[in-house]
């Protein structure tokens, strides 16, 4: 169990916009695929209700069971289709298909059949997919193998929007590239309609999505160039017609007909939900400025609610096409986290780039986005190929009173536009309010920005590629009601370009890395105190030690060097050849974390600058470089004394992998504690706690106890196997914090074993009772299923007799125990 102590754990923030969400029949819940589980949200409160856990790989589709509206099918890349009861989050059945599944379609007409998109069997590696129909076998087992696949269409797109069932499930339409294929189930025949590539006039005719009218023979297809084509009369090869609707200027990402077919909804990069009236296509309504490009649209079965998924990991719920009623927002993971990861000292939230031009505040504890702060404050134009303002740097001061942000817009062949903005925390609104905007604070890109940690002065330092670093201070103006920021000092060193800077923990020293030279300045007098250099290699990262190690300055250079200077002697203390991609200090302890990239994967070293041996090291943490990491202070200090886990006592290390997965390290003790708290929260929800229950429940509890006492004269329950705690833990721990299944397996098996020495005696001792009891329990437990089955294969009389016998037996035993108690009481007298 030693390896168990510290392990990497996936933190939430999974993509909820990956696949089209599903709104339930009663419009109360919204289900969406989120990583390896299916999340259930309430449509009215936008709160997370629970999740359906079981898949072992990415969930790639969720559809309602057409024959039972309280059940839902989900498919996953792990090759299974699972049937769930979503109200209680119970897995009903698992169908094993055996191939990774990319999307799932169902139709009311084809009961017991699901249509799946799987890779072509013979080209497993290539990018060819086929649409197959799978008859889901009826069987009582939990896990069913369903390997009878019958191909419907070959060479389809794996995109779930690229296929759709037509009127009453009579045909299915699929698009790929420049081809629309319609398969009629009655005729078992498919027609193909293709368009010209149309590259001549700059129009891109490629299909992007398809949707079929639920009542009429009409197929709507979306195209790359923003056109929507309505296909009719397609049941003959030759005489098909289509009409074109054009509003979108970018590609049409998704199309959806309302259940009655009166309206067609379309969305694209413009982030406008367009509402076409089916018969009068020139009439359309718009719902503009939804925030980000629309990727999926779903409509509730009664047509009252729409939901749109957006590229910024958001689901918007819209009431009857006019009002946005709820927004479910996940962690926005854009193309780049330029701001690095920052912890807001006030809310302890993780702060990083959110929507374009925004900063998002993401609560790590609740796995929920707290709010978005609009930094750029400009109308976002949803258009491809446009240079937008991006927030590239952000920093908080030590108390969280000030937030500094840098936004940048680089235009081809034009000057770089940079704005430095300073935001003051407003206690009244609990948010940040813009205080000062500095246009063009530097002439070139800003490479680093930090607040001075000293409590006396509020000072900000920015370094830029224009060869200067600037110090900004809050100017005191007695006559103005609020101070604003102004430049205090401009520094440079031999026209070299500063790449990084760092303040010492008390704010008395500032070190700026000018390529190969580290300069140390005194912010009080702006004197250059000393220069340190360790060529070759430009300095990439600088960090001052903290607490007892505050005399050390660490620098990571591009040429695989990690250097540590002693500032008292101004000499190099030590240096090691390491390709450090990221250096982070723990604000609450002396520890530092260095992420090194080596042969395609990242290693982590946690060390104290004063000690030669690292506290913790983990080789091959993940593939690719780790570019962003942060130490988040804990609410409560852990009291772990073990050497290996001590560094996690005060703060937790979070980092982003190359694939933008947010990971963290957690210890066993911590998980135990989490588990305990989750157990506490679990309430027996089978019975509502009402006054009536309190009255009757007590009574019943007594009855139960009595009954138990009667049935088990020894008042002893079978001892659960020793490993049961581990199993329970396993079952109750959220899936995303569990280690790999292979590891769990060994533990699980071990827990099932009964230790030989002590258990045997007990066993022998209780064998008599045990056997009897087992019999009883078995008969009771199996009563229900047998009831159903026996009804099928045998006359009911056969079943009635043993039941009677059992009742009699119980009666008898009751009498026996009564006698005993009576006797014992007599004896007592």
């Amino acid at each position: 169990m030693v390896e168990m102590e510290i392990r990497m754990v996936h933190l939430g923030g999974s993509k909820i916009n990956f696949r089209e969400p599903v709104i339930t029949h009663d419009s109360r819940f919204l289900l969406c695929a989120a990583g390896e589980s299916v999340n259930v949200y309430s449509t009215s409160t936008e709160e997370y209700v629970h999740d359906l856990q079981g898949h072992t790989d990415l969930v790639t589709g969720v559809v309602l069971n057409p024959s039972n509206h309280l059940q839902v099918y989900s498919c996953s890349a792990d090759g299974t289709v699972r049937l769930w009861d979503f109200t209680d989050a119970i897995l009903i059945k698992t169908f094993i298909i055996g191939y990774p599944i990319y999307s799932i379609y169902v139709s009311e007409k084809h009961e017991g059949v699901v249509f799946l998109v799987v890779p072509m069997a013979n080209y497993k590696s290539s990018e060819l997919f086929q649409l197959v129909a799978v008859h889901l076998p009826h069987s009582g087992d939990q896990e069913v193998e369903a390997r009878e696949l019958s191909a419907v269409l070959c060479d389809v797109s794996p995109h779930p929007g690229a296929a759709s069932f037509g009127r009453e499930g009579e045909y299915i339409a699929a698009v790929k590239g420049l081809q629309l294929e319609v398969f009629f189930f009655k005729k078992q025949k498919s027609y193909r309609f293709s368009l010209k590539s149309g590259m001549k006039k700059g129009a891109k005719n490629a299909f992007t999505c398809v949707s079929c009218h639920p009542k009429e023979d009409c197929i709507a297809t979306g195209h790359e160039d923003g056109k929507i084509r309505m296909w009719r009369n397609f049941n003959q090869k030759k005489e098909y017609t289509y009409s074109t609707l054009h509003w979108h200027h970018g590609a049409v990402n998704t199309l959806c007909f309302t259940p009655e077919g009166t309206n067609l909804l379309s969305g694209g990069i413009e982030s406008v939900l367009v509402h076409w009236h089916y018969t009068q296509e020139n009439q359309k309504d718009f719902l503009p400025r939804l925030g980000a490009a629309i990727t999926h649209i779903a409509v509730s079965p009664d047509g009252s609610l729409f939901s749109t998924s957006h590229s910024d990991n958001k689901i918007t719920i819209i009431q009857s096409c006019v009002k946005v009623s709820a927004v479910i927002q996940g962690l926005v993971k854009g193309d780049g986290v330029w701001t690095n990861l920052i912890i807001d000292p006030r809310s302890k939230a993780l702060v990083l780039n959110g929507k374009p031009g925004h900063l998002q505040f993401y609560s790590l504890h609740r796995d929920k986005q707290l709010y978005n702060l609009d930094i750029v404050q400009q109308e976002y134009i949803h258009e491809e190929g446009l240079d937008q303002f991006e927030v590239v740097k952000a920093a908080f001061d030590a108390r969280g009173d000030w937030l500094a942000t840098v936004e940048e817009r680089r235009k081809k062949g034009a000057e770089l536009e940079i704005n430095l903005k300073l935001w003051a925390y407003d206690k009244l609104t609990q948010s940040f309010v813009l205080n000062t905007t500095v246009t063009a604070p530097h002439e070139d890109q800003i490479t680093a920005m930090f607040f001075s940690p000293s409590p006396e002065t509020t000072m900000l330092v920015t370094t830029s590629l224009d060869g200067h670093f600037k110090a900004w201070v809050l100017a005191d103006h007695s006559d103005a009601n609020e101070g604003f920021w102004e430049c205090d000092f401009v520094g440079g060193y031999h026209l070299l370009k500063p790449g990084c800077c760092s303040f010492s923990a008390d704010g008395s020293l500032l070190s700026v890395g000018f390529q190969e030279v580290v300069t140390v300045w005194s912010p009080a007098s702006w004197e250059l105190l000393t220069t340190l250099s360790q060529p070759p290699g430009a300095i990439r990262d600088l960090c001052f030690g903290r607490l007892s190690c505050s005399k050390y300055l660490l620098g990571a250079s591009t040429k695989n060097q990690l250097c540590c200077w002693n500032l008292l002697t101004c000499s190099l203390e030590w240096s090691t050849p390491m390709d450090v991609s990221l250096l982070q200090t723990d604000p609450l302890s002396e520890n530092m974390a260095a992420f090194c990239s080596q042969s395609g994967s990242s290693d982590l070293f946690v060390f104290k600058p004063s000690e030669p041996r690292p506290l913790y090291s983990q080789k091959a943490l993940c593939t690719g470089k780790v570019q962003h990491a942060v130490f988040a202070p804990r609410d409560q200090m852990l009291e772990s004394c073990e050497e290996r886990t001590q560094w996690l006592n005060r703060s937790q290390l979070y980092f982003f992998t190359q694939h933008m997965d947010l990971l963290t390290f957690s210890t066993k003790t911590e998980e135990d504690r989490l588990l305990a708290s989750s157990k506490q929260l679990m309430v027996d929800d089978s019975v509502a706690v009402t006054p009536f229950y309190l009255l009757l429940g007590k009574h019943r509890g007594q009855q139960l106890e009595k009954q138990e006492a009667l049935t088990n004269p020894m008042a002893e329950r079978t001892q659960l196997p020793q490993g049961s705690i581990a199993i329970k833990e396993l079952l109750h721990t959220p899936a995303h914090v569990l280690p790999s299944a292979s590891f769990l397996c060994a533990m699980f098996v071990r827990s099932l074993l009964i230790s030989s020495s002590s258990a045997r005696e007990e066993k022998e001792h209780e064998e008599g009772e045990m056997e009897r009891e087992k019999e009883e329990e078995d008969s009771e437990g199996e009563a229900d299923p047998r009831l159903g089955e026996s009804a099928a294969w045998g006359p009911p009389e056969e079943f009635g007799a043993p039941a009677l016998i059992k009742a009699q037996e119980r009666e008898l035993r009751k009498v026996k125990t009564f006698d005993h108690s009576w006797l014992s009481s007599l004896l007592d007298c």
Binding site: G291, I381, E383, T530, T531, Q534, L567, C570, S571, L572
Partner: protein
């Protein structure tokens, strides 16, 4: 569905002085009244009597003006040569003046002929004053002497011959009838006591002294000479307190504001500077058309009167509070539409339920067009004449927004001659404004790109294009000159700064250790 975010109009910092209570106070004067005199105005003196007339000495005359008159109330012309230093007695009844012909004349303010004539000086008398008991006259002359005269007997009382150059300024104590101070071109200030024969205190100004001034408490003395204004502490035996060097030409005149909190100095460099007398910082500055010779403030700072070498007398009157209120009242009358005021002034009663309506924010016209993606119309709206002239930053902000949307070129294209000339007019007016240059240069380049095919078809546009070209060429020249100046300044600064050695270990010492810098960071860290 987020609401439309309106175009951000950047607020540009106002260049120039900051708004302080001082600037507000000293700016609160009306436009100056200018009166042409016959020669350079050498002296201005306010009467302390109620209407506060003032005597203006220029050439061979002394004019007395009423507080609001532009015509002289009275004129004294009985001078044979240039008159100097017309001064009222503290009761406002008598006026004394020196003259280049060495005669000092005393006038009754209501009369015309001199009451007394004091003869004795051998050269021109540039400075005269009454003592505080009103019975004596102090004069200073170019014959290096200063004398005291008795008014009733018109006799000379004493003559002090301690100065070794022209005596050009003097002031009598208002608290003690015997004390007076003179300043001379021999660089000294001397304090005399009429009861003793010799000067009691001497101070060296180290420049020819042009003007002296006593604080109301008479503990501090201010002298002006050369480019310097110096303040002396008389109670500490003439110890210099401050030396101010804010003018770049000779300071000619000094004055105190009515409350004694501000000191004014006028100079040949055409500026009047106002100092705070607690920290001696310049708090305000007036510019005038010509070199200033004399300056006076009416009681309560009601008006500032300045006399210049070109004979122009400039009078600024303070704006009265009533006028200000009138102006404000006019502005408040603005919302004339009944709809604006309707129901607004209703005060809810005690039991009323107040249902507040959300305030609907109105978008500006150009924002409405931008919201609809009508880019050309948005630019047209932003180019409306009043907006273009009054708030060019709005027009520029709209252009910038269009540029950000990547549609500026489309918005600029397809314009007729009239519309294009309007656009070019705006560019010519604003392209060299450093606030707008980055945006407008792109716009100009786009316009040239778009319309280069049609150059030569319209004379109006061609003329404007030539104008624009000249403008840009001129600007480029300016920039080049400025760069040269900047280079010169850099050399000067670099030479004047003390050279400080920064410990920098050479690359030969790879461990980054430099013995020289051992001491420097050590204590820094320890103190931390």
């Amino acid at each position: 569905m987020a609401s439309f975010k309106s175009t951000k109009i950047p607020i540009y910092p106002k260049l120039g002085e900051k708004v302080t209570p001082d600037t507000l106070y000293w700016k609160n004067y009306k436009a100056p009244v200018q009166i042409k005199e016959f020669g350079a105005v050498t002296s201005i003196d306010f009467s302390s009597l109620a209407p506060h007339n003032y005597a203006v000495t220029a050439s061979t005359r002394i004019h007395i003006y009423g507080p609001f008159s532009t015509e002289p109330v009275k004129t004294f012309t009985r001078f044979k040569d240039t008159a100097y230093s017309g001064k009222f007695r503290s009761d406002g009844q008598l006026l004394v003046a020196g003259c280049e012909d060495s005669v000092v004349r005393l006038f009754d303010v209501s009369g015309k002929v001199a009451l007394r004539v004091f003869k004795g000086h051998t050269k021109g008398v540039h400075v005269t004053d009454f003592t505080s008991d009103c019975y004596h006259i102090l004069t200073g002359s170019d014959d290096y002497t200063c004398r005291l005269w008795d008014i009733p007997n018109s006799t000379e009382l004493t003559s002090y011959k301690e100065h070794t150059d022209y005596v050009r300024c003097a002031i009598t104590s208002k608290l003690n009838r015997d004390i007076f101070i003179t300043g001379s071109y021999d660089h000294t200030l001397r304090v005399f006591d009429a009861r003793v024969e010799k000067s009691v205190m001497t101070m060296d100004h180290s420049q020819p002294v042009e003007s002296v001034l006593l604080y109301p408490s008479e503990g501090l003395l201010v002298s002006a000479g050369g480019r310097y204004v110096k303040v002396w502490d008389l109670l500490k035996g003439g110890q210099p307190l401050v030396s101010l060097k804010n003018h770049h030409k000779t300071v000619t005149c000094l004055s105190l504001s009515s409350n004694g909190q501000r000191l004014l100095s006028a100079s040949l460099d055409r500026h009047v500077k106002i100092y705070n007398t607690t920290n001696y910082k310049v708090v305000h500055n007036f510019d005038y058309a010509a070199s200033i010779l004399s300056l006076a403030l009416a009681p309560d700072d009601e008006s500032i009167v300045v006399g210049m070498t070109n004979g122009v007398l400039s009078i600024k009157h303070r704006k009265s509070s009533e006028e200000k209120r009138e102006m404000a009242g006019k502005q408040r009358m603005q919302p004339v539409y009944r709809i604006f005021v309707k129901g607004r002034n209703y005060v809810p009663k005690k039991d009323d339920f107040l249902v507040s309506k959300p305030v609907k924010s109105h978008l500006a016209k150009y924002d409405k067009q931008l919201k609809k993606f009508n880019i050309s119309k948005a630019l047209d709206t932003a180019l409306e004449s009043w907006r273009r002239n009054k708030n060019p930053e709005i027009t520029v902000a709209v252009m910038k927004e269009l540029d950000r949307r990547g549609t500026l070129k489309n918005a600029l294209a397809g314009r007729a001659e009239q519309n294009l000339s309007l656009l070019l007019k705006f560019l010519i007016g604003n392209v060299v404004d450093p606030r707008f240059t980055p945006v407008l240069v792109t716009a100009t380049e786009m316009i040239l790109d778009i319309y280069q095919a049609v150059v030569g078809q319209s004379s109006v546009v061609d003329r404007q294009l030539v104008c624009l070209q000249e403008l840009v060429e001129r600007e480029v020249d300016y920039q080049q000159d400025l760069l040269e100046v900047l280079g010169m300044l850099d050399t000067l600064f670099a030479a004047s700064l003390p050279r400080k050695e920064v410990p920098c270990p050479g690359s030969s010492r790879p461990n980054g250790l430099a013995e020289g810098c051992l001491g420097a960071p050590g204590p820094q860290l320890q103190s931390a």
